[in-house]
Subunit: 251 residues, 2 copies
């Protein structure tokens, strides 16, 4: 399994991904799921990937070859991020379809992507590209997208992320969301990659990689645990409400 | 959908359930999922239910009829909670099977239960009864069981619940877990039922029902939100770690 988050707020982008891949429970390995594409200087495009590893690698290779070969459509000549998402969807569907088999032991090597970045004077943004090739973007009300094991880490994002949250706060929120998911699901694991991109900067110089025993993560977990405990302690006692009779067994 | 939690700690039991049921997204109604069985005074047995509503009602009716008819096996004559779980599994499989259909439009009205309580001098406990009729119980390391939409609310349980957590703290933790799930999944909704059972008491006088606009829940959410914000603010700045160069596009 996988867990990746992309957040687009007023100040820019925050991307977070785990690194655990598995083919069955007994074949677990480490693969970075955050990929920068080698584009020209007027743009930055980063992909996060979930799903079949062969498909994601085939897609990345194709995108890079298309750039090198200056193909009719490639990430260097698209003018909009939505165009990049559409092109990514097209490549992804082709690669999945190529290795699909039908019949009794049918197999479909599906993959899902988050595409994030900024092109020239266009606004920064994030796109979720489905295995079917179509895509969605985020909104002011829901400034994030997730792929992979998204449920465990969703509540903390829902409670905290707003369109005007600062990039550093978004980053800490994403690390908590990732840490919650790693605790509750063995299919998601370190190292954790984190990238903050300040809008209009066109540089990727705030990239962090956290190993399992990273001191920052350990400190973060300790502080979080303390604040949870304080939160429970600060809540009013339940007996301050009135207990009610238990509903009759025949209701 | 549904979300129910049963926790068994040293001091006793805490049970929590939502009340939203739906047959399709356009047929949503309110049904309490916490059921006391009308047993004799030497025992208390409570069920939480998830899944097909017709099956859960058929199972509850059968359990009540078996008690009234003093059947060979019923909840008044089982000596152990595990025996009650086995009997519940047996009844559940029979009710599901009766209304199942096979073929092209196959239908299986499956249901999952949490059984909790205490019988005479036996220890208190909780059991999760699968649709297949088999069951598991909790452990000292993982003192809780969940049914329904379990992922959203799992991290806060994993972070906080220990075998020696007090009943009141467990209750607050379960309410946060439930609140997180209701925020992130529209299939889970109020009213929320909460029951605390102190071991060896054989009384159910700490039962609470929280409507959507309950003042306690509103206060709880506000305090939780404040503590989350404090937690993020208390975490060290990310630039206290060293940012790294972004991995080369060809890695």
């Amino acid at each position: 399994m996988t867990y990746c988050i992309a957040v687009s707020v007023n100040d820019g982008l925050v991307l977070t991904s785990d690194s655990r891949t598995n083919a069955g429970i007994d074949n677990v390995s480490v693969h970075c799921k955050m990929h920068m594409l080698p584009t020209i200087d007027d743009r930055k495009i980063i992909l996060l990937s979930a799903g079949n590893l062969a498909t994601t690698q085939a897609v990345l290779d194709q995108l890079r070859r298309d750039i090198k070969d200056n193909s009719e459509t490639n990430l260097n000549n698209v003018k909009y991020l939505s165009e990049a998402a559409e092109y990514l969807g097209h490549v992804s569907v082709a690669k999945q379809h190529r290795h699909a088999s039908t019949g009794q032991n049918s197999f479909y090597p599906s993959a899902t992507f988050l595409l994030a970045g900024q092109i020239e004077n266009e606004p920064h943004g994030i796109y979720l590209v489905y295995p079917e090739g179509n895509y969605i973007t985020s909104s002011k009300q829901t400034p994030y997208l997730q792929i992979g094991e998204n449920k465990y880490g969703k509540p903390v994002l829902d409670r905290f992320l707003k369109i005007d949250t600062s990039l550093d706060e978004v980053a800490r929120c994403c690390l908590i969301s990732m840490d919650s998911t790693m605790r509750s699901n063995a299919g998601v694991g370190p190292p954790v990659d984190l990238l903050e991109y300040r809008k209009d900067s066109f540089v990727l110089n705030e990239y962090y990689r956290f190993e399992e025993d990273d001191q920052y993560l350990i400190q973060m977990r300790r502080i979080w645990q303390e604040k949870l405990s304080e939160g429970f302690a600060a809540m009013p006692q339940l007996n301050s409400c009135d207990a009610q009779p238990f509903p009759s067994p025949y209701q």
